[in-house]
């Protein structure tokens, strides 16, 4: 079974390390290039959204127009300005334009595409223990295990469906963690988000299987703006996984997603990401700009939100999965491995905002830099005056491979309560020649030795991932590091 769950199997693309780079040959329903109010209205109309949803989008769009059109400038990344008028904001497979259907109606080419990615959707082949919402470009094409989830009372569907079928929940929580005015990319997303996943776990329910959304960009010059909302009601538990890939394109693609998590009293959300968007070629041509806003609100007393991410893809990664620790005794965690190779740039980390009493947060971030990549950890820990007895522990370790890359650590520590305690540690190291020789002397090749050391470096993070994902993550690291030794 494990074999089948490996996403990274051969796809027949040659001469490349990115094995997910094939293109699907499907007909798409594509909006005109550029962004204006009509496009926002068009997206909303395609989704047959209620008036309030359209109003919210328009509010976001009008706010976005007022922002500096270059987006935020503080991150440690460099790229040419993005032309937001030269991008397509909505693309959906023609066969899917009416929204998700039952599996027998899904275009076989799409099913085959997801098969190739290792995410079979058909009933008889589907992954065991994981319910999958498959998102292609702007829309969700299918969601598996609907019946089982329904029995447990868990709502897991595409965002479009949720707007139709659970409008009260959506209206109550959308924008409650990441307001439409939050930041440049989140505002853009609020205006043009196309689809994404929605999940609601009722009080006291432990979601019986892992939930997963698999994102795939296919269409050329298309931005992907999905929006995910997960609500864990009192005393409930859910583990959610997210994976993503894109075809190899010479031009850059923008992915500006928003993820909002809400955990009520005693609820726990575990959110894991394997980010494997196309990183571009070795000279930095092409690749996805992954500018994502992810935030969870540990709203209830004793609630817990845990982010685990393995970031190996994208030309540029800009994301800071955060936790607002509002409920007393709530817990926030962030476990991250970020790898850059070739010309990749990552500026990623987290924010832990302690508001409630005795709140706890843990941050473990591992950065690996190879090739000419630049990797920045940027993390903020804020202890508000109300956060009596709060604690944070942060550890950031960087590993450098070669002398053309960079590893940077920028913590922001803001303490406004004398009973809060906070500790930050960071180290930087390289794979030493002594370690490599030691492993070689035991019969391992240089490449294997290097890989084993790096895997060891990441072990603490991988163990936070669900089992199948851990194997996949370790596989991804290996592929991403090919050619860095020797």
């Amino acid at each position: 079974m494990v074999e089948q769950q490996v996403i990274s199997r051969e796809t027949g693309i040659e001469d490349t390390q990115y094995r997910w780079g094939f293109e699907l040959d499907i007909k798409s329903d594509v909006s005109p290039r550029g962004l204006n109010e009509d496009i926002v209205r068009l997206i909303s109309a395609k989704k047959r959204e209620p008036e309030w949803m359209l109003e919210w989008r328009l509010k976001a769009y009008r706010h976005w127009l007022k922002l500096d059109s270059q987006g935020p400038q503080w991150a440690n990344v460099e790229f040419q300005p993005i032309d937001y008028q030269d991008m397509i904001y909505y693309a959906a497979p023609s066969s899917q334009s009416d929204g998700p259907k039952s599996l027998d109606e899904v275009d076989p080419e799409i099913l085959e595409g997801f098969n190739k990615l290792g995410i079979p959707l058909e009933e008889q082949k589907k992954l065991t223990g994981v319910a999958v919402d498959a998102v292609l470009d702007s829309v969700s094409v299918a969601t598996t295990y609907q019946e089982m989830l329904k029995k447990a009372g868990v709502i897991f569907c595409s965002m479009s469906e949720a707007v139709q079928n659970h409008p009260d929940l959506v209206r109550k929580y959308i924008g409650s963690v990441v307001p439409y005015s939050d930041n440049f990319y989140a505002t853009l997303n609020s205006a043009v988000f196309s689809d994404g996943s929605f999940c609601y776990v009722p009080p006291g329910v432990r979601c019986p299987i892992e939930l997963m959304t698999y994102f795939r960009i296919n269409e050329l010059d298309t931005g992907q703006f999905e929006r995910t909302l997960i609500i864990a009601d009192e005393g409930s538990y859910v583990s959610y996984l997210e994976g993503c890939t894109a075809p190899m394109r010479k031009s850059h693609q923008l992915h500006a997603a928003v993820v909002e998590l809400v955990a009520l009293d005693g609820a726990e959300i575990k959110y894991s990401t394997l980010q494997n968007w196309y990183p571009g070629d070795k000279d930095g041509r092409g690749g996805v700009y992954n500018f994502v806003t992810k935030r969870g609100k540990a709203q209830g007393r004793g609630s817990k939100i845990s982010w685990t991410q393995v970031e190996t893809g994208s030309a540029i990664t800009w994301k800071y999965p955060s936790v607002i620790l509002q409920g007393d005794d709530s817990v926030g965690e962030f476990y991250s491995v970020a790898l850059v190779n070739n010309r990749q740039q990552a500026d990623t980390g987290t924010k832990m905002v302690h508001i409630g009493k005795n709140t706890r947060s843990t941050i473990i971030a591992k950065g690996i830099s190879a090739g000419r990549g630049n990797n920045t950890y940027r993390g903020q820990v804020k202890m508000m005056p109300t956060a009596g007895g709060a604690r944070n522990f942060t550890q950031c370790d960087s590993l450098l491979i070669g002398d053309e890359c960079g590893a940077h650590t920028i913590p922001y520590i803001e303490v406004r309560n004398p009973t809060a305690q906070l500790e930050h540690e960071a180290t930087t190291s390289k794979v030493s020649d002594d370690q490599l020789f030691y492993l070689q002397q035991r019969g391992l090749s240089l490449e294997e030795s290097n890989y084993m050391i790096i895997n060891g470096f990441c072990r603490g993070i991988f163990k936070e991932l669900p089992f199948e994902f851990a194997a996949e993550a370790s596989q991804l690291m290996r592929v991403s590091l090919e050619g860095t030794v020797g």
Partner: protein
């Protein structure tokens, strides 16, 4: 002949360390290489294992009739050359179990043997680690990280037992051990002795030779073997010190 070294000259950067070393090791033999600090003992061990910093300027090293210097470090290991390190590297996050499994797999694959199943591997590991008194817990920890000096050395002997080499080169494996640990290590080495295998022990002191009896003892001074003999040479050295050999050699 298992190992034959002829007129070996080795340098690190600008410095010449070995200056015309000769050594012949036959299957079944235990050789002790003794010498003061800086004489080139560790260099010899590392050159046999293939550490990249050392440059072989001149001379030949043949192992089982093949040119050993032409092989990569991992190829030497797979061909049966094992080195126990004086200062084994620490591998954060890499479990000893995982490390040993990968090594044993690589070596067995090269030798055309079938890969051990996890159950078979565990059985082998249990047997070997008992011999060097390493507890089950220790193999779950990161390789050499937080190990005591004695634990590191025992772990080296465990690896030797697991990889089943033909030629074992022990670099100061006895240094820094208390008497109990020394006995455990010596027992491990002794149980490895067989008519088809050979051991080269590099050591500063003759202490371990009381537990592992050598067939030949060589004295290394300034990059050359200046004197060879039987077990009695070690005792003589212990008594008279290296200056005695130095004077004789001059």
């Amino acid at each position: 002949m298992l190992l034959e070294i002829r007129d070996l000259h080795v340098s690190v950067g600008e410095t010449d360390i070995l200056k015309g070393l000769n050594l012949t090791v036959n299957p079944g033999e235990v050789h002790a290489i003794m010498g003061p600090n800086g004489s080139g003992k560790s260099t010899l061990a590392n050159v046999i294992a293939g550490r990249p910093e050392f440059t072989v300027v001149r001379g030949e090293v043949s192992y089982q009739g093949r040119d050993l210097m032409a092989l990569l470090p991992e190829e030497r290991a797979r061909e049966g050359v094992f080195m126990a390190f004086q200062y084994p590297a620490e591998l954060a996050g890499v479990r000893t179990w995982q490390f040993l499994k990968a090594s044993v797999d690589a070596v067995r694959k090269h030798r055309g043997m079938k890969e051990l199943s996890i159950r078979e591997f565990d059985r082998l590991l249990d047997e070997k680690r008992r011999m060097v008194r390493i507890d089950a817990d220790m193999v779950k920890r990161s390789v050499n990280e937080g190990y005591s000096g004695g634990e590191k050395k025992r772990n080296e002997v465990l690896q030797m037992a697991m990889l089943d080499p033909t030629l074992a080169v022990l670099d100061e494996t006895d240094s820094g051990l208390d008497i109990d640990a020394l006995r455990i290590v010596a027992d491990g080495v002794n149980s490895f002795r067989s008519p088809s295998k050979a051991i080269v022990m590099v050591t500063h002191y003759q202490r371990i030779l009381g537990y592992v009896s050598p067939d030949r003892v060589h004295v290394l001074l300034d990059g050359r073997i200046v004197r060879s003999g039987g077990r009695e040479l070690a005792l003589e050295l212990e008594e008279k010190g290296y200056d005695w050999v130095r004077a004789e050699a001059a």
